[in-house]
Symmetry: C2
Subunit: 418 residues, 2 copies
Amino acid sequence: MAEKWVLMVTAQTPTNIAVIKYWGKRDENLILPINDSISVTLDPQHLCTTTSVAVSPTFTHDRMWLNGKEISLSGGRYQNCLRELRARASDVEDEEKGIKITKKDWEKLHLHIASYNNFPTAAGLASSAAGFACLVFSLAKLMNVKEDHSKLSAIARQGSGSACRSLYGGFVKWIMGKEENGSDSIAVQLADEKHWDDLVIIIAVVSSRQKETSSTSGMRETVETSMLIEHRAKEVVPRRIIQMEKAIKDLDFPSFARLTCSDSNQFHAVCLDTSPPIFYMNDTSHRIISCVEKWNRFEGTPQVAYTFDAGPNAVLIARNRKAAALLLQRLLFYFPPQSDTDLNSYVIGDKSILQDAGVHNMKDIEALDSPPEIKDSTPMQKYKGDVSYFICTRPGRGPVLLTDETKALLNAETGLPK
Amino acid sequence: MAEKWVLMVTAQTPTNIAVIKYWGKRDENLILPINDSISVTLDPQHLCTTTSVAVSPTFTHDRMWLNGKEISLSGGRYQNCLRELRARASDVEDEEKGIKITKKDWEKLHLHIASYNNFPTAAGLASSAAGFACLVFSLAKLMNVKEDHSKLSAIARQGSGSACRSLYGGFVKWIMGKEENGSDSIAVQLADEKHWDDLVIIIAVVSSRQKETSSTSGMRETVETSMLIEHRAKEVVPRRIIQMEKAIKDLDFPSFARLTCSDSNQFHAVCLDTSPPIFYMNDTSHRIISCVEKWNRFEGTPQVAYTFDAGPNAVLIARNRKAAALLLQRLLFYFPPQSDTDLNSYVIGDKSILQDAGVHNMKDIEALDSPPEIKDSTPMQKYKGDVSYFICTRPGRGPVLLTDETKALLNAETGLPK
């Protein structure tokens, strides 16, 4: 083992947005939830984490860099994931490079990990979900862990609960499980990303001046103090899980939208029922909801579902491209960019939705008509600057290995960040 | 009955703020609630309705004026109250004026009603509670209705649910009752206004650009769509009612504050769990809550309780005058008036609290130190203009007759508004 080789794997893992929410743990250390949850995986082209993991006999200790900055791996969540993976590592042999690592070697060998989000970490877009999923997925490949994705999801879960749902594309259920050791608290795929191809997702990244309660402490406080959370977890969610699985299976958008919106609102309701109360949505979030509710009612059937995680950002799921273009028109009408903002940086991701909406420049935004559902009523106020930017995306695939070495975040010789 | 006399009564009735909330009806017409509620009656010196009611053989139909403007009495709620009162009217004799009205005459005689709020009707300060309570109280006096206040409360309840609680001063419980006809859905006094003399109440009237859902339609939608409201009404509130009665009896401010804040938050939680969701609180309401929560935590024991009705206004109950002065300093620090505002119109009601806070002019507001609980943390932002004005008040008495004729709102000869 005195050689100087570096063995490396690079992977890309999507983030996900829950449509039936996870809020509340029954085990803080193992991260076991008090109810099942269901999520949509988001297209990694627009929102993903890329992680390179490397092993070398020259590494002196485990190290990690997140978005180029070294961070500590001493936290219990990282340690739990690393311990679980090392326990499941197998022999690895690379004849070409003359590398041979036995199962036992993994206990002594050190790792370098570099991770990068292709979206702002601070934007509250579940970066930890994609991050831990990618860490576990890439290390499992490197270490030749022979477990399937569901087993890996139980490891990723110990890094960040919702990370387990990022191990699959499409629609994913996190089963809460019953075992005390968490072995059956795993993610399973309900349908892949091709199953419901029509859906288009627009994320409104909402400007916020408030410091938000972390979801870890927030959900702990809810479980400890809310008088409604138990009823939600035991009575409401189990029924919604069944209904949501059916809605996804049947491509039943009205039911999907009704369940998604109701469950997002109920999650924020139990946050408000917490002592002291937790507010994640702000006036801008409320206005986006009102805009969607008004439009859906006007159309007679839901065009768009909304869901909000532990922050003010809206994730809007449109039934198809046409609805997405009409939604984007409404969003740009109510929330035009500041005059010094470039349209190209105000709507990012899949810009073809912007084309469909007929918006090619800032003048087109100013020229947008007020939506028909508010015609004849008092002219709606506009809220310039209340949204930072929009991301257009869609349901996407699960984790993939990146074999293109130029995508690696670590140098293949040194194992240090490029 | 061909005479030209006018018989008149004038009364003043307080408004009230619920500390255990009423939200949801089991009978829409009779206005029967799905849970008990408890309120504090507010000092009528600062917030009340004055109503004059008159009867004369010359009146050709029932008429009503609210704040000087004639309004229709054809609504079911007015009709229910008038019918119930006429059915209970007794003989009235005024020997001096030579007036004699028999029980039977009331069926044919017409009424004039003039009502006036000493606070802005649109400010969302439960004007309908004081209004219907005053209507019923004054008409009962005029018509010589021999029922006690509890029986009258059951009539006022049919005008506006929370009106029944305005028939008493101090602390009042509205018992939901079990009878289908609503006869046992009445208000009872838990303690009079002298029982807990220390309390001081500051109301922050919050600027709002949103049109709010009326509480009538809001609570109907909650009952129809929330998955949490039934659990709240059947499991949570009954326990809180017992605890709140004990806290009031024992003058136990920490328990009173904890229950008041939790129940306000839970009421807004079930509003959020409604489909479509109802938002009554806005970012300013949230900031007021954060300010109070932070201060209470800093002090180690609650100094102030907050509660919000169907709108963004905060009702803040301070444990005593000292806490109220410290609260007002904080409120004026975070929410200073616009520079063109007069301090005299920015803090109204009991201005002695302003003196206690050491604030005599606008310069004193600018000179306010940031509260110690936020010292050493990032300097807190100020929100100039987000509060319209503050009202300083206290728990107050129930309805009273005004015998001073100059206070009457109707002309004693013509029975028309002065």
